[in-house]
């Protein structure tokens, strides 16, 4: 069963001046952990709002858990959990008050579904008397997740839950999502962090309102059309400049402590040696060049329209 279906959804703002979502179609299976991967302004939030019945699309149709987002919006609203991107809870209420408030709004109680949030809530329980405004970013995200889960939703929509959260909290957060998935909840999550893509079962790469590809992370990586190499030297900045000037190099992007490059016309051994030779002559030391497996970010860059 498909839990989320979008068919040719288009949405624009300011009377068509800003085209936020353009002809987006995708399907999410029941119990799937699905990621919308793309930068700010790609249209992720608009898609989430259309699915959570907060926005009406200009054209196309969408359904969540079998219900139409326009006709059956009431049915959807009682079955989904939603954590908006800028969601920051009630700063002047305590952790506990926030949670019990949302429980009541969703017609349930903390006790009723405690088993679902227990894992997450235990992290913040020591601070349950503290006002939400005084929590750190990571803690707030956990509390917000608890609030979105408290009514045991069928489908969970998380709009950029890890933005502005440090690497450690992000890792923890994804661990929680995987455990929730095991409980059978369908999860749709968006993120601008490309490295989080591999933590999803399937992802959609999205840019400027258009979906570039929908696949499992492995398949997206496997379909990378070029041979990719990582190159480094002592002076990375100068190396990048030289690579950009080299005619045989088709693309060069810095990735942490390496630059990732592709060659025009394949990149045979001879071409590589020639490049290294020239770079050495240009004064680069400790050069290394080796083939590597692309990351999602490589794929994203490759798929981005020039």
């Amino acid at each position: 069963m498909k839990d989320v279906v979008l068919e040719h959804i288009t949405k624009s703002y300011n009377k068509g001046a800003v085209r936020a979502v353009e002809d987006v179609s995708l399907e999410v299976d029941k119990g799937e952990l699905f990621g919308l991967i793309g930068p700010d302004g790609a249209g992720k939030t608009s898609i989430f709002r259309i699915l959570t019945t907060l926005l009406l699309a200009d054209s196309g149709s969408a359904a969540v858990h079998g219900f139409d987002v326009v006709k059956d919006f009431r049915a959807i609203r009682s079955r989904v959990g939603y954590m908006p991107g800028r969601f920051s809870l009630y700063q002047d209420l305590t952790v506990e008050e926030n949670l019990s408030f949302f429980a009541t709004v969703f017609n349930t109680s903390i006790q009723e579904n405690y088993d679902l949030i227990k894992d997450i809530y235990e992290h913040i329980e020591p601070f349950k008397k503290r006002r939400a405004g005084k929590l750190s970013g990571g803690m707030k995200q956990k509390l917000a997740l608890c609030c979105a889960l408290i009514h045991r939703p069928e489908v969970l929509f998380l709009d950029e839950p890890t933005t502005g959260v440090d690497a450690v909290s992000r890792k923890e957060f994804w661990g929680m999502l995987r455990r929730l998935k095991e409980q059978g909840i369908t999860i749709l999550v968006s993120t601008p962090y490309m490295d989080e893509a591999t933590l999803c079962e399937r992802i959609a790469l999205i840019q400027n309102g258009r979906i570039m590809s929908v696949e499992t992370p492995d398949n997206i990586i496997a379909s990378y059309p070029h041979a990719l190499y990582a190159i480094r030297s002592e002076n990375m900045n100068a190396l990048l400049h030289d690579l950009r000037r080299a005619g045989e190099v088709a693309s060069s992007h810095s990735f942490g402590d390496h630059h990732h490059i592709t060659f025009r016309a394949g990149g045979e051994e001879a071409v590589q040696q020639n490049l290294l030779q020239r770079l050495r002559e240009a004064g680069h030391r400790e050069l290394s060049l080796q083939p590597i497996r692309p990351t999602i970010e490589d794929c994203f860059i490759q798929q981005m329209p020039a």
Binding site: D40, G41, S254
Partner: protein, 248 residues
């Protein structure tokens, strides 16, 4: 190596009541360096950065920014630094041209200086056709580039960047770092915070804040060696995991 020191702190601390937000941090940053300032949420980065920018008076310790004392010469500090954050960067309801003119103006540059520099800047960014457009209508990536350019428009000694690339697409993110390198080549010291660990690799040196204190400070390569880690991600994770302070 005898390099000019532009940021020097010694046992710099900030207390809020009983709470020690920044606990005796001591470090030096050299001219033209790209200095990464990392730490988990709540580790004290923002508080420390505010003190360095002259926005917050320390509780104890010493610090000199661009040669000025953080207690006495906060106004001089402000004249010699640039600042850009992800949250506030530009006035969305002003045009690109008006924004640049404004930022030049508040640093007391003459109209002629502003004109000459902004023409050069617009040309470099390739935004000649957008100068009369409202900034709000430009793509996020462009805004970030303009914001950075505005922050260093008055040729400050140091520019503080608070998560400058959050949410930006991968290509623009790299173009942004090109701008950072360029600024560093011009001798501007870049003090940057980020949540992208690959960006941490681009810094000359990194400091890691944990629970208000600086737990490690070295080049990315040395840090990885020291922690026997394959990536900065692992170093960061290893270090921040030990943090006691989580909910503040």
């Amino acid at each position: 190596m005898n390099r000019e020191i532009v940021i020097q702190t010694e046992r710099l601390s900030k207390h809020f009541g009983d709470f020690v937000a920044v606990n005796e941090i001591s470090f030096e940053v050299y001219a033209g360096e790209i200095f990464g300032f990392l730490g988990a949420n709540g580790a004290g980065k923002t508080t420390a950065m505010r003190m360095l920018c002259g926005l917050s008076i320390p509780t104890s310790g010493q610090a000199r920014i661009a040669g000025y004392d953080v207690y006495k010469n906060t106004e001089d500090i402000k004249k010699n630094i640039g600042y850009m954050s992800q949250k506030f960067s530009l006035y969305e309801d002003l045009t690109l041209e008006e924004n640049i003119r404004f930022f030049g103006g508040i640093y007391g540059m003459s109209s002629r200086q502003i004109k000459a520099k902004s023409d050069a800047l617009v040309e470099k960014l390739g935004m000649e056709n957008e100068t009369k457009k409202l900034v709000g209508a430009l793509p996020l990536g462009w805004k970030q580039k303009i914001a950075f350019s505005s922050a260093i428009f008055h040729d400050p000694k140091i520019v503080f960047l608070d998560e400058p690339t959050g949410g930006v697409d991968p290509i623009t993110r790299r173009q942004f770092w090109d701008l950072i390198y360029e600024a560093a080549d011009r001798g501007i010291t870049v003090f940057v915070t980020t949540h992208y660990m690959d960006e941490a690799e681009y810094c000359n040196r990194l400091s890691m804040m944990v629970d208000g204190a600086i737990k490690a400070l070295d080049s990315p390569a040395n840090l990885k060696e020291q922690y026997r880690a394959a990536s900065m991600d692992e170093v960061f994770y290893e270090m921040a995991r030990g943090a006691q302070r989580k909910a503040d």
